[in-house]
């Protein structure tokens, strides 16, 4: 039986690295948002989205083809 999250070290070892995009989905839109000291931390959700958009846009400018269709990331809710 699989026991997710609690698998013994041996079974997990040749662990495939998680895809960065799956990780960023979670780290940039999930997690508890606490107000940090350092001015912003990423507690400021808008900033995160702006930064993420900038990230994606700057990548796509070098290689525009993947972006020819459908909607770019929006500043609004991520559950649409």
């Amino acid at each position: 039986m699989i026991t997710p999250g609690r698998a013994p070290e041996a079974e997990r070892l040749p662990q495939r690295q998680v895809a960065l995009i799956d990780l960023l989905d979670r780290l940039l839109s999930g997690g508890v948002v606490l107000t940090g000291d350092v001015v912003l931390s990423i507690a400021d959700i808008d900033l995160v989205r702006i930064s993420l958009r900038a990230l994606i846009v700057s990548i796509s400018e070098q290689n525009p083809s993947p972006w020819t269709r459908t909607n770019p990331p929006r500043g609004g809710d991520h559950d649409g």
Binding site: R26, L34, V38, A54, I56, W67, T70, H78, G80
Partner: protein
């Protein structure tokens, strides 16, 4: 201000041996991770490490966040700490790059939020997150090669071709819809909650080896005991559906469920329709 800042990874439910288990961990910038505990009853812990101030000040952080290599290194370090803690106890992950001036400030935040943290940890106890993504193969790949009919002008042949492609495309989206309904049914059967993420596009999606178009990108909060059942149902969600692929990722720490329901979108979000 000191040169080091306190980077906070997660609030955890304190457990026997947790402090010792935390000691060997290395976090962002290879910094040793430690556990700050609640001065009151010691039930909660905040995993932190000390990071270089110059990288996490507002301006530097803004720039760094647009530097994919930097972002990836921090994201993987953050994730590594949370994964390791998650093997020992219930973890409430914090948003990437939550930074405090020093440990005392971080401890104050832990104590001020004690009730809220305890409540959320209780909800996440014995649960993991699974990602479920649904892809449709590109219509070009699906369109059957059409033999040009002798009686059609090139213009008409082109239009007929386009119509056929459109029809294949519609069929594939309907199939994806069906798969999405099956996944949602699996969620209702086994999961405690669901959050929808934005569909994945662009170079990062390509870099992950994604084939086809991502039309659903959801996260489910599943009790440990129900994981086998959930995954088995998800594995069959695309059965008999041509051109549709369903992928599960995980188990993840409950990143997508760390926010309260009304802020995360929660299970209520209803429409499961691919575009």
């Amino acid at each position: 201000m000191s040169d080091l800042l306190t980077y906070a990874y997660a609030v955890v439910r304190n457990a026997e041996g947790l402090r010792e288990a935390t000691a060997p961990l290395r976090g962002v910038a290879e910094s040793p991770v430690s556990l700050l505990t609640d001065t009151g009853d010691d039930q909660l812990g905040l995993a932190v490490s000390h990071v270089p101030g110059q990288d996490f000040q507002e301006d530097a952080l803004k720039q760094h966040l647009e530097d994919l290599e930097w972002l990836e290194a921090v994201a993987r370090a953050h994730h590594g700490v949370i994964e390791a803690l998650g093997e020992r106890t219930t973890v409430l992950p914090l948003r990437l790059a939550t930074v405090y001036l020093d440990d005392n400030r971080a401890r104050e935040v832990l104590e001020a939020g004690r009730t809220m943290f305890a409540g959320r940890l209780a909800r996440l106890s014995e649960h993991v997150e699974w990602g479920v993504k649904i892809y449709v193969e590109s219509s070009a790949a699906l369109a059957e090669p059409t033999v040009p009919a002798a009686d059609l002008t090139p213009g008409r042949a082109y239009l007929r071709n386009r119509r056929q492609q459109q029809s294949v495309r519609d069929t594939v989206y309907q199939a994806a819809q069906k798969a999405a309904e099956r996944v949602e049914a699996a969620g209702r059967r086994h999961a405690s909650d669901r959050v929808r993420h934005r569909v994945q596009q662009g170079l990062l999606a390509d870099a992950a080896g994604a084939v086809g178009e991502n039309v659903v990108n959801d996260a489910y909060l599943v009790p440990l005991k129900r994981c086998d059942g959930f995954l088995a149902d998800v594995a069959h969600a695309a059965d008999g559906l041509d051109g549709v692929r369903v992928e599960a990722t995980g188990p993840w720490a409950p990143y997508s469920f760390a926010m309260p329901l009304d802020e995360s979108g929660g299970a209520a979000a209803a429409e499961g329709a691919p575009p």
